[in-house]
């Protein structure tokens, strides 16, 4: 973790961010901000975080030069930050560890969290098991159905997974349910939010805990003698991207490219892309940012093949950095993500999570447009094990069906 004196943050990013919550939630947020700043200035807390990073998460995660792919496309040198090799399978664990340690310092005994793909739920459940904290994960019924392996793991770690049946039964509804829980439980409970969004201080906090991804990548590139021309990451709420980009936010280079879920088309309800004019400024779930809204401000339906990108809002700092042009945004469709996933599996022996494969798809496109002297780095925020029920159905439906039928018979 960076050793600079941590300064109090401003709670807003340009016109975005803020702490738009009912008074009932003010005390826990105010308490959290104070505890976070104190922890960041406490060398003992940082040392504890760093030690869990090495002995438990498995940091640093490798930076892979994707030589076969670079050669095949004949463009830029493509590097892949293998963040999915972190214990529990995704970048989510960095933030879960940071916040769980903080919660413990604050004397909280219970952790609640929302999860979409289940990666954040798995990370939270795992670190709670390790630190001896009670853990309750809210997860939409739709996501429970499509990310069953993660539900199984969360329960194995001893967490309670509470299905959420309200609204669209996906990630945003799980956030609502966690907020409802927290409004009466905050005396002993910490809400361990999983992305760089929500009311302040969450976006600042999550970025800080995820910045380890960017810092490592920067050092690894330097060691490899490469200067990045572009960094590419998928963007759901924005935690892996803001952490990956964090060392470069104040400079003009490299290009920073966020990739949103293009889903299966650009009609309402068919995608989850909020940038490039698709989202409207609004206030939802305690923060101001760009959201997919109708004219009355009602939140609209979203779709993505990847549960982790299937969310109508984007973290406020990303919305701001997009509006001032520091971060460019593009999208990848469901199909493009699946194609990228197949390509990297075959060329590099690496299976991307479906979320990360959106970044992979955009990185492939960009690399093809650049000369071999250029360097493009993509963050593989997660590995694809959890997605097997989706990818197998999409890629090899017949043999997968036969396998499942056999499984049912042997049960």
């Amino acid at each position: 973790m960076p050793q600079h004196q941590y300064r109090a943050f401003k709670n807003t990013f340009g016109e975005f961010g803020g702490r738009y919550v009912a008074e009932v939630l003010r005390p826990p947020l105010d308490e959290l901000e104070a505890a976070f700043i104190a922890a960041m200035n406490d060398p003992q807390y940082r040392a504890e975080f760093d030690s869990i990073c090495t002995e438990y998460i498995g940091r640093p995660t490798p930076l892979l030069h994707a030589r076969n792919t670079s050669r095949e496309i004949g463009g830029a040198q493509l590097y892949i930050k293998l963040e999915g090799l972190a214990n529990t399978g995704a970048h989510k664990i960095n933030n879960a560890v940071g916040q769980a340690l903080l919660a413990k310092r604050m004397g909280k005994t219970r952790i609640i969290a929302e999860t979409g793909a289940g990666q954040h739920g798995v990370a939270t459940a795992a670190i709670c098991a390790k630190l001896g904290l009670e853990c309750c994960i809210y997860m939409g019924e739709v996501d429970i159905a499509r990310q069953k392996p993660n539900v199984f793991c969360m329960e194995l770690y001893g967490a309670e997974v509470r299905p959420v049946s309200g609204g669209s039964r996906t990630l945003k509804d799980a956030v609502n349910e966690a907020l409802r829980d927290w409004a009466s439980s905050f005396a002993n409970t910490h809400y361990l939010i999983g992305s760089a969004l929500g009311p302040s201080p969450f976006p600042d906090m999550v970025r800080e805990f995820q910045s380890v991804v960017g810092q490592e990548t920067k050092a690894q590139l330097k060691a490899a003698g490469a200067t990045p021309d572009a960094l590419v990451a998928c963007v759901g709420g924005g935690s892996n991207s803001i952490g990956f980009f964090s060392p470069y936010l104040e400079s003009e280079t490299p290009r920073l490219i966020g990739v949103e879920a293009g889903g299966r088309g650009m009609n309402t309800g068919e995608h989850a892309a909020r940038m490039n004019g698709l989202g409207k400024t609004g206030i939802v779930q305690g923060y101001k940012s760009l959201f997919l809204l109708d004219d009355d401000g009602q939140v609209q339906a979203t779709h993505s093949v990847s549960a982790g990108l299937d969310y109508p809002g984007i973290g406020p700092q990303l919305a701001h950095l997009g509006s001032i042009g520091r971060i460019e945004f593009t999208r990848a469709t469901d199909t493009e993500a699946l194609d990228a996933l197949k390509l990297f599996a075959r060329n590099e022996g690496v299976i991307f999570a479906l979320e990360s494969a959106h970044g992979g798809a955009a990185a492939l496109k960009l690399a093809a447009e650049l000369p071999p002297s250029a360097t493009v780095v993509v963050n593989m925020s997660g590995r694809g094990d959890k997605d097997i029920f989706i990818t197998a159905r999409e890629i090899a439906p017949e043999s997968w069906k036969r396998f499942l039928e056999q499984e049912v018979q042997t049960l």
């Binding site: 738009y20 009912a22 008074e23 409802r180 009466s184 009602q298």
Partner: protein, 258 residues
């Protein structure tokens, strides 16, 4: 004489347009003292399952912000008691907070309650509301610190909504000495205290009567309306409207302490 005022909460277009008008008429005719009209939001993260479901149904029945103001206007024309529009920040912000205040004023509303636009993140709500002569009602909770409460009250609001416990709407509330002391602290400022969250019985109303200006009853009305509509079924709209009308009347008289 303890004539604690009752503020009845309802949701336009829940369970549908006609039945929500029937409910409102029942509330007006049974002489509740205030109406709290909640403009539904797709993501009501401060509401429990009863109001969350009702908001979802209202949106599915065609609620829009414009129709919400039309609803309020119609009730005011029919002689409604003071109407307070309650909603979430996202809805007020989408119209533009100032525009939302203008429209609220034009509809005849007396005030606005937007819990997630607190005074220090209000998007200009307090200024615009006051300029329009609307009462902007801050919402405080027992967890609100004395320092923060002082800040909330510094703007000398005419009304303050005091949640009787932490948490969300819907769940039962055990009233104890703590609640009453909290209400007295809020009321000491001279603001008229509207107290709610989990109120569903005459005993609770009676217990609060010395400590508040009005008692707010929300989920209990939503449940009564929903039960009446369901019992009547979808085939006889006129009968359903009558059932909803009398269900709210029955609940109002069950709550009145006399």
């Amino acid at each position: 004489m303890s004539t604690t005022a009752i503020m009845a909460h309802m949701i336009p277009y829940f369970p549908d347009r006609e039945l929500s008008y029937a409910a409102a008429h029942g509330l007006i005719d049974s002489k509740v003292d205030y109406l709290e009209v909640q403009f539904p939001f797709s993501d009501p993260s401060a509401d429990g399952p009863t109001i969350e479901d009702a908001c979802g149904r209202a949106l599915a029945s065609g609620f829009s912000t414009a129709r919400g103001f039309e609803f309020v206007h119609t009730l005011v024309d029919r002689g409604a008691p003071p109407v307070f529009i309650m909603t979430y920040a996202g809805i007020a912000y989408a119209s533009g907070v100032k525009e939302f205040c203008d429209l609220a004023k034009q509809s005849g509303a007396a005030g606005l309650i937007v819990p997630d636009l607190p005074y220090d993140y209000d998007e200009g709500l307090y200024e615009a509301g006051i300029a329009q002569g609307l009462a902007v009602v801050p919402v405080v909770a027992p967890s609100t610190t004395p320092e923060r409460l002082a800040e909330v009250l510094r703007g000398r609001p005419e009304y303050v909504y005091a949640a009787l416990r932490v948490g969300i709407t819907g769940a039962a509330t055990e009233l104890g000495q703590d609640n009453l002391e909290f209400l007295d602290r809020v009321g000491a400022s001279g603001a008229k205290v509207l107290a709610g969250f989990g109120i569903r019985s005459r005993d609770q109303v009676r217990m609060l009567s010395e400590h508040v200006h009005a008692v707010v009853v929300g989920s209990a009305f939503v449940k009564a309306i929903s039960a009446a509509a369901e019992a009547a079924g979808p085939d006889e709209p006129a009968a359903a409207a009558e059932a909803v009308y009398s269900a709210v009347e029955t609940l109002v008289s069950a709550l009145r302490p006399d």
